[in-house]
Structures are given as structure tokens and as C-alpha cells.
């Protein structure tokens, strides 16, 4: 198993109380208790720096991008393009031309499934995904497969919520056109062995798409070292705003793809009956983009880099280990996912308490977790549960919050009395 975290012998130097001061929402009270926000895999809270970057943009620089020959237009364009450069550096892309702004992970994957997929996947071809995908890395491929007459194949997961990679090689064949999988599972927390998967796929010339919705916010990411062909992620899960996300892709992939949507910004020259396309990345960004969102995401990346992604990973590892240790002391506790390499999303059930009752109970004490199928119904079906609870941490959470959470779990157990 590749070690993503242990390979960096950094010592932890983390002043969480100081970091928390940047997040105004962490001072909120819920039902008379301090908010304990453990729903970070769904979306994260925003620091003052991000909120201010967005409001500064609207107060001082608002204009359309790439069109206006006036000061504000230049400022807006510069802010938007600077955000693109920040993102490229953040994931170590070779060029900012490989960074396409989208609405989020979901749109990034749909973009690939349609603009790349409809050109390169045909009748009888095969698309490999895993059984642990979020619906947003499953449905776009189902739609593509239906449209072109291709077939989906699945890498199964084992009892501990890790991929059965021994089966992966047997799925690869001449018809395989792409492998699309999650870097980190939003249900099990599992960090998948991407380098191994990429190597096996590339040996056969097959591209790999990574769903980075859960990994990019929590791990240092180097797309050149991962060598993935596509990487999709969302700003709102990494202290950025909603409605902005990223598709990274290798240059040759982007250049050979169809356009995604048609409209302004994405063209070079237009006649009444035809058009030529703008250079990448603009070819894939039709219409006025989410300028404020991009600038907000740039500020989010500045914020994360100031703390340091290695520090964030190490701190979260500590929190997760601590939480798992305390949670498993309940004898009625079921944890879903026991991967040795894992992130900070912990899915669980406590005795026979239904997740919706649990989430409603925790909310009474200010604790926000997620209950449900987590947009992964095939996982739930295989686990044979209707729903699970999920607590997911970010770098602004504390061990004291985990202690408080454990105390409320005890109260829930007594309240529902099993």
C-alpha cells in the first residue's frame, strides 16, 4: 500500500484555537449549545478571508471577464485568472491552462463524460468505476454508457471498505476506455491506492479520472506525481464558496476533447453556420463564469497553504485516530470502513438507533453530523443498511469537540434506551 501521509516526516505544529478565530460561524450557538460542526464531508465552513475576498470583489472590482476594456474589467479578469494560477500551483499542474472552472465536482465529471466520453467511448466499450462511488461519479457514466452503448464494470470493495485491487487487473481489456474512481471515499474515508491503479491503467494506455472531492481538501495533491488524466474537485469542501469547482486535465486530453457547452467566451470566430473554438481552458468555459466564486476559491487556497496541507493532513489524522479510539469503546458501535489509509470521514451506527433519530438528537446538543445514504445507495445496499451516520472532521475541529460528541452519543444511547 502506498503511503501518502507517512512519507512526509513533518512534525505537527498546529494552533487550532488560533485557526478557529478565522471562522465566524464557529461562534454560533445551536439549541443553546456551541456549534460542533462535524459535517465537513458535505461542505466546509468559510474563513473571514474567503468571505472578505468575495465581498471585496463585489465592492471594488465587479465586472465581466475577458471582454471589457476598462479598469474594473481588467481587475476582474486578473482576479479570475490569478485564481486559476493559484489552483494550478496548489495541485502542481504544469500549466494553468489545465485548470477549468466548473460548478463543482459533479459538473467536472459530467464535462468529461460528455466532452471526452462522447468522442472516445463507443458501442461495446467499457468504463470502469468502483462500487464505492458517490452518485456523481456513477450517474454521468451510466448516462454516457446508455447514450453510446457502452458498459460499466465495477471494482468491488471488501468488508473493511477498501478496493479489491486484485480484481482490477482482470477487469482491464481492449474495450476499456477509462477508469473513473474516487481518491477518498465519502462513506468509508478510505484513501484508494491511486498510483497503483494509474500505473496498471496506463500500462494499457487507459486514462484515469479521479474524483478528488474528498481528497483535495485534506491531502497534499500533486497531479504530476499521481499522474491522473483528470481530477475533479469542489471549492465548497475546502473552505471555498459553493458553485465553483475545478476540472484538471492533461493538456493533450483537453485539446482532443469536444467542447462541453456552447456560448460566449468559448469561441474563437463565429459565423452564422459554424464556429471555431477558443484555446484551452476557455474552450470549456461557456458563458459568464462564477467570477466571485473563483476569486473566493483562490482566497481559500491561500488560506489552506498558509497553514500547510501537510500540517492539515497530520492534524486530521490525529483527530480521526482519537475519534475512532473513543467511538469504538461503545460496545454497540458499528464503524463502516477500516482502511489502514484513511481520511476523516467516519460512518457509523450506534446500536439500533436510526441515523435520522441520531442526527436529530445530536442537533439538540449543537452537534451537526450527516445521516442518510450519503449519495451512495449502491454502498448502502451492499452493506445492507438503509442509512448510516457520518461524522467528518476538518482542521478547525478539536479533540474537545470529539469529547463533547462522545458525551452526546452516550446521552442518545440512554434516551433511545437499548
Amino acid at each position: 500500500m502506498e503511503t501518502i501521509i507517512a512519507a512526509t516526516p513533518t512534525t505537527l505544529n498546529f494552533d487550532v484555537q488560533n485557526i478557529r478565530k478565522n471562522f465566524p460561524i464557529l461562534n454560533e450557538q445551536v439549541h443553546g449549545h456551541p456549534l460542533i460542526y462535524f459535517d465537513n464531508a458535505a461542505t466546509t465552513q468559510k474563513p473571514r478571508q474567503v468571505i472578505e475576498a468575495i465581498s471585496d470583489y463585489y465592492q471594488h472590482s465587479n465586472a465581466n471577464v475577458h471582454r471589457a476594456i476598462h479598469t474594473l474589467g481588467e481587475q476582474a479578469t486578473e482576479g479570475y485568472e490569478e485564481a486559476r494560477r493559484k489552483i494550478a500551483r496548489f495541485i502542481n499542474a504544469e500549466s494553468e491552462k489545465q485548470i477549468i472552472f466548473t460548478r463543482g465536482t459533479t459538473e467536472s465529471i459530467n464535462l468529461v463524460a460528455s466532452a471526452w466520453g462522447e468522442k472516445f467511448v463507443g458501442q461495446g466499450d467499457e468504463i470502469i468505476v468502483t462500487e464505492m462511488e458517490h452518485h456523481s461519479n456513477l450517474i454521468p457514466w451510466q448516462l454516457l454508457a446508455e447514450k453510446v452503448g457502452a458498459k460499466l464494470r465495477y471494482i468491488p470493495f471488501t468488508e473493511d471498505g477498501t478496493l479489491d485491487t486484485s480484481l482490477f487487473e482482470t477487469l482491464l481489456n481492449k474495450q476499456t476506455k477509462i477508469v473513473a474512481l474516487t481518491h477518498m471515499s465519502n462513506v468509508f474515508g478510505t484513501i484508494n491506492p491511486i498510483k497503483k491503479i494509474v500505473r496498471l491503467a496506463h500500462d494499457r494506455g487507459i486514462p484515469v479520472l479521479l474524483d478528488g472531492a474528498q481528497s483535495v481538501p485534506h491531502l497534499p495533491i500533486d497531479v504530476q506525481s499521481l499522474d491522473c488524466d483528470f481530477l475533479a474537485f469542489s471549492g465548497h469542501k475546502m473552505v471555498g464558496p459553493t458553485g465553483i469547482g475545478v476540472l484538471y486535465a492533461k493538456t493533450n486530453r483537453l485539446e482532443n476533447m469536444n467542447p462541453y457547452q456552447g456560448g460566449g467566451e468559448m469561441i474563437n470566430a463565429v459565423w452564422l453556420d459554424r464556429a471555431t473554438w477558443a484555446e484551452i481552458p476557455h474552450k470549456f468555459e461557456a458563458g459568464t463564469p462564477n467570477i466571485a466564486g473563483a476569486i473566493g476559491l483562490g482566497a481559500a487556497i491561500d488560506f489552506l497553504q498558509q497553514i500547510g496541507m501537510k500540517q492539515i493532513t497530520l492534524y486530521e489524522q490525529q483527530l480521526t485516530t482519537y475519534a475512532l479510539e473513543r467511538m469504538t469503546r461503545f460496545k454497540e458501535m458499528t464503524i463502516y470502513g477500516h482502511a489502514p489509509e484513511r481520511g476523516s470521514a467516519i460512518s457509523f451506527n450506534l446500536g439500533s438507533i436510526h441515523p435520522h433519530d441520531m442526527a436529530q438528537f445530536l442537533d439538540q446538543y449543537g452537534v451537526a453530523i450527516r445521516a442518510g445514504h450519503h449519495c451512495a445507495q449502491p454502498i448502502m445496499r451492499k452493506l445492507n443498511v438503509a442509512a448510516v451516520n457520518r461524522a467528518s472532521f476538518y482542521f478547525y475541529n478539536t479533540t474537545e469537540e470529539i469529547d463533547a460528541f462522545i458525551d452526546v452519543l452516550k446521552k442518545a444511547r440512554d434516551f433511545f434506551d437499548f
Binding site: 439549541h31 443553546g32 436510526h354 441515523p355 435520522h356 433519530d357 436529530q360 438528537f361 439538540q364 446538543y365 442518510g372 445514504h373 448502502m380 438503509a386 442509512a387 434516551f415 433511545f416 434506551d417 437499548f418
Partner: protein
């Protein structure tokens, strides 16, 4: 813990959740129907045995949250031995209780244990949990064969 929460999870609801009544399969059922809430995964099967317009037996099977399970359990108790028309009337009352449009204290005699669900009115997202078994029972009684899905209510 605030009072609305206490109202939602009354003792009687917790009790029926923990020890559901009339739980399990019914071999000689005359009416059987599945109901599910696809959003939260709640899923129940309702079994009814109707003879001469009387619901002689009512049982249920399945899984879901405390509200949905207690609702199914109390429903089977409520309608057992009643006529189809009476069951329909309870069905209507139950809806009124959940929308807060009936004063349960005033009509306590009529609605009985169903009054325990008055607190659900304060939690709109939980109303579907409470009504799932009732819709399923109602459709089963009136021989609607399609399985109940809470999401179709709104279509």
C-alpha cells in the same frame, strides 16, 4: 434539549420504537402493500386481514426511524377491530394532527394515542416519516396496488 424535541420523541413513541406491537408477517392477510421513503430508506410492509368490512388483523414489517416505526405500530393498534370507514377517519385525523390543524387536547377521546404525534408538526421534514405507514395502509385498504413512495406525494 428543548421542549419541541421532547414533544417529538414522547415516551410512547420511544416505547413503540423499542417494542413495536403487531410486528411481523401475517399469513392470511387479505391486503398486503409495501411503502417506502426513498430519501431516507424507510421501508415497511403492511398486512391487513379484512372480513365483512372489519379489519380483523393489522400487522407490519420493515425498518425505519423511531417516528416511522412507532407510527406503524400505533396505527396497527388503532385500526384493529375497526371498520374500513373508521380506519379512513383515523387516516384523516392523523393528517390533521400532523399539520397542526386539530387541537389534540380537545379531541383526545377521538384520536387517542395518535395525539402523541402532534409534536411532529414542528418538524416538517419528519412528517413523511410519520405518514408512511398510514398511506400504505390506506392504499392497501382501497386496493391500490402500486407500492407507496413518499416522493410521489409531491409530484
Amino acid at each position: 434539549m428543548d421542549s419541541e424535541f421532547r414533544e417529538l420523541y414522547q415516551q410512547i413513541i420511544l416505547d413503540h420504537n423499542k417494542s413495536p406491537r403487531n410486528y411481523g408477517h401475517l399469513d392470511d392477510a387479505t391486503h398486503v402493500l409495501d411503502g417506502q421513503n426513498p430519501v431516507c430508506g424507510d421501508h415497511y410492509t403492511i398486512y391487513l386481514k379484512v372480513k365483512d368490512n372489519i379489519i380483523e388483523q393489522a400487522r407490519f414489517e420493515g425498518s425505519g426511524c423511531a417516528i416511522s416505526k412507532a407510527s406503524a405500530s400505533i396505527m396497527t393498534e388503532t385500526i384493529k377491530g375497526k371498520t374500513i370507514e373508521e380506519a379512513d377517519r383515523y387516516f384523516e385525523w392523523f393528517h390533521k394532527i400532523l399539520t397542526g390543524s386539530v387541537d389534540v387536547n380537545e379531541s383526545l377521546l377521538k384520536v387517542g394515542k395518535l395525539a402523541a404525534f402532534a409534536g411532529v408538526a414542528d418538524f416538517p421534514v419528519r412528517v413523511k416519516c410519520a405518514t408512511l405507514a398510514w398511506h400504505t395502509m390506506h392504499n392497501a385498504l382501497h386496493n391500490k396496488k402500486e407500492r407507496v413512495s413518499t416522493e410521489e406525494d409531491e409530484a
